[in-house]
């Protein structure tokens, strides 16, 4: 089946700089997709190009077999919710929400009914006569959402709509938007730099880096099976170690280093070649044990020996900085270990993200 929205071989940029190069993307009807990436990765450019505010150099954008590449934004049947909300200060809340319907030349009664429906849906009842200036941040955000939803768009585009809200409201609005989108069955594309926000809201996450799609997949997929070191790091596997690996058939051996004995584990779908590798894992995926603790490890568990350099309590668990020669890694544990204590860090094979080191990349990183 063809996707509802498809972007094919699209290149976009400003002047002579290319931001997105031959990008392909397909989104099914009713799907909630998050474009995730750090600032400058091209996610907002992608969204604005889909919305029609930026013209691509080449490639095409199709919605339901309709080529919209050259269409102006107002003919695309999409609605964009801006990061700044972009509410019109000279119009009331009701006028803001009803404007799109007024453009469609709907009758007064229809507009009033729909505006009321939107206000009730978004918890803005009774605020219809206020101007945007008299609303709180959360209310403004909901007016912006209502204005976009009122016209019943085929595709709802969200450009970091939660980043201007304070942390507590943000958590509730996430769920509100998600449940609203499910209830109305709208196709939505959500641009964000917040990993947790993307995980909680989206059916599918598209991780972008320097104008390319690094990986796309369900939240579980990108979290548990990162396809590149960038994705692994972006999804929270910040601990980084360099090692040597030897691949033999379906098995990979991580060679013995100054802090670890060698282990052999299944490739389990990883594509690896013999040579230098970089290894990543999350602070919460590792288990900490005293060095005299001689519990037998499950086969394939990587064991590192190091020393605790500092302990902190970010809440819920204790976070330890462990020194391994030149490197320092962070490991969580339920009980605190003493500073200076020699410890064993055990990481189960499934939590190890292993990637071959690309020559140029390693040098770039060393700089």
């Amino acid at each position: 089946m063809r996707p509802f929205l498809s972007v094919e071989k699209m290149s976009v940029g400003y002047g002579t700089t290319t931001v997105l190069d031959k990008l392909d993307l397909g989104i099914r009807k009713g799907e909630f997709v998050a474009l995730l990436g750090s600032s400058g990765c091209g996610k907002t450019t992608l969204l604005r190009t889909i919305a029609g505010f930026t013209k691509p150099f080449s490639g095409s954008i199709r919605v339901a077999d309709r080529d919209v590449t050259q269409m102006p934004p107002d003919k695309r049947g999409m609605a964009l919710v801006f990061q700044s909300y972009a509410l019109w200060p000279h119009m009331t809340v009701a006028q803001n929400i009803g404007y799109g319907l007024k453009l469609q030349r709907q009758s007064r009664e229809n507009i009033d009914a729909r505006v009321n429906e939107m206000q009730n849906l978004l918890g803005l009842a009774g605020l219809g006569d206020r101007k945007p200036g008299q609303l709180s941040g959360g209310q403004r955000q909901r007016v912006a959402l209502g204005r976009a939803l009122a016209i019943d768009p085929e595709i709802l585009l969200l450009d970091e709509p939660l980043s201007n809200l304070d942390a507590r409201i943000r958590l509730t609005v996430r769920h509100e938007i998600r449940s609203l989108q499910k209830r109305l069955g709208i196709t939505a594309i959500h641009v964000t730099h917040d990993r947790e926000e993307a995980m909680v809201m989206a059916d599918r996450i598209i991780i972008m880096n320097t104008g390319r799609i690094e990986q796309e997949g369900s939240p579980e997929d990108v979290y548990n099976k990162p396809a590149s070191p960038f994705v692994a790091a972006f999804m929270g596997a910040e601990n980084l170690l360099s090692m040597q690996a030897r691949v033999q058939g379906e098995q990979v051996e991580l060679m013995e280093g100054s802090f670890n004995p060698s282990i052999v584990t299944a490739l389990a779908g990883r594509t690896l070649a013999t040579g230098p590798i970089e290894l990543r894992f999350r602070a919460e995926a590792a288990r900490l044990a005293r060095s005299e603790d001689k519990t037998v490890l499950q086969p394939g568990t990587l064991e590192l020996r190091g020393q605790v350099t500092s302990v902190s309590y970010p809440g819920g668990h204790w976070r330890h900085a462990i020194r391994l020669g030149e490197n320092e890694i962070l490991v969580d544990a339920d009980t605190p270990f003493n500073q200076g204590e020699a410890v064993r860090v055990c990481i189960p094979a499934k939590s190890l993200f292993i990637f071959n080191v690309v020559e140029g990349l390693a040098e770039a990183r060393a700089l």
Binding site: P72, D74, A86, W88, Y99, Q104, A150
Partner: protein, 270 residues
Amino acid sequence: MTAHIDLWWLPRAFILGLLAFIIFGPLTNLLLWTVAEKWYFPHMLPLEYGFTFWQRVFSPRGNAMASLMTSIIVATLTVIVSLALAIPAGYALSRLKLPFRGLILLAFLIPQAFPNLPVYVNIARFFYEIGLNGTIAGVVMVHVTHGLVYAVWIATAAFSAVDIDLEEAARSIGAGPLRAFRDVTLPLAAPGLMASAIFVFLESLDEFTGSYFVGAPVVNTLPLLLYTAGSGGNYQIASITALLLLVPSIGFMLVVERFLRADVLSKVGH
């Protein structure tokens, strides 16, 4: 210590008084002249007060009313033409990444940069050849070149103060470019445009040199009447005319002050 501060008040009071005299002295003199029936040297104040000159100015046979009408017609047309040019120009200058944006803005200053007299003499000569001399259209054109600098600069600032997101928000939910401009950009820029209209109106009302060379003696605006009356030694008529010119100026300045927000002003010339 207190004596020291008290002493400081003396020069301050003196300077304030002097300033007040510089500003209000001529005004008072002007007001006195408008109601003076008889006033000659060496008397400090008029000898007789009355409104006969007012009657003369406002009588159906007096030229003051006709001149006032001419002035208002010219000023209104100037505002319409200037805004018709300044709205698209200001919008383009604020929105598009035009090359030499600063130079374009500066170009509107050119009519002000050269000495007025030679420019207007040449314009008059040229207009005479193409039959625009002594017509309202000719005078309006001269005033437009003069007023356009205010109109374009302020309009550019007014449009720059409208966030582009607001326009795109309208576009994204179905408004065409003109509709978005009409419903969102224009209303939000209106206070600034209003201010620029008022500036142009006042400039036109006040303009003398161009009107004199291009308009006189057929198109007789209020400043031309003032000049004729003043040079003819008729101070009463001149003062009353001046007062007529002063009223809209002061009234509009008060309006402008309300309309021109600081955020618009701060974008002038950017």
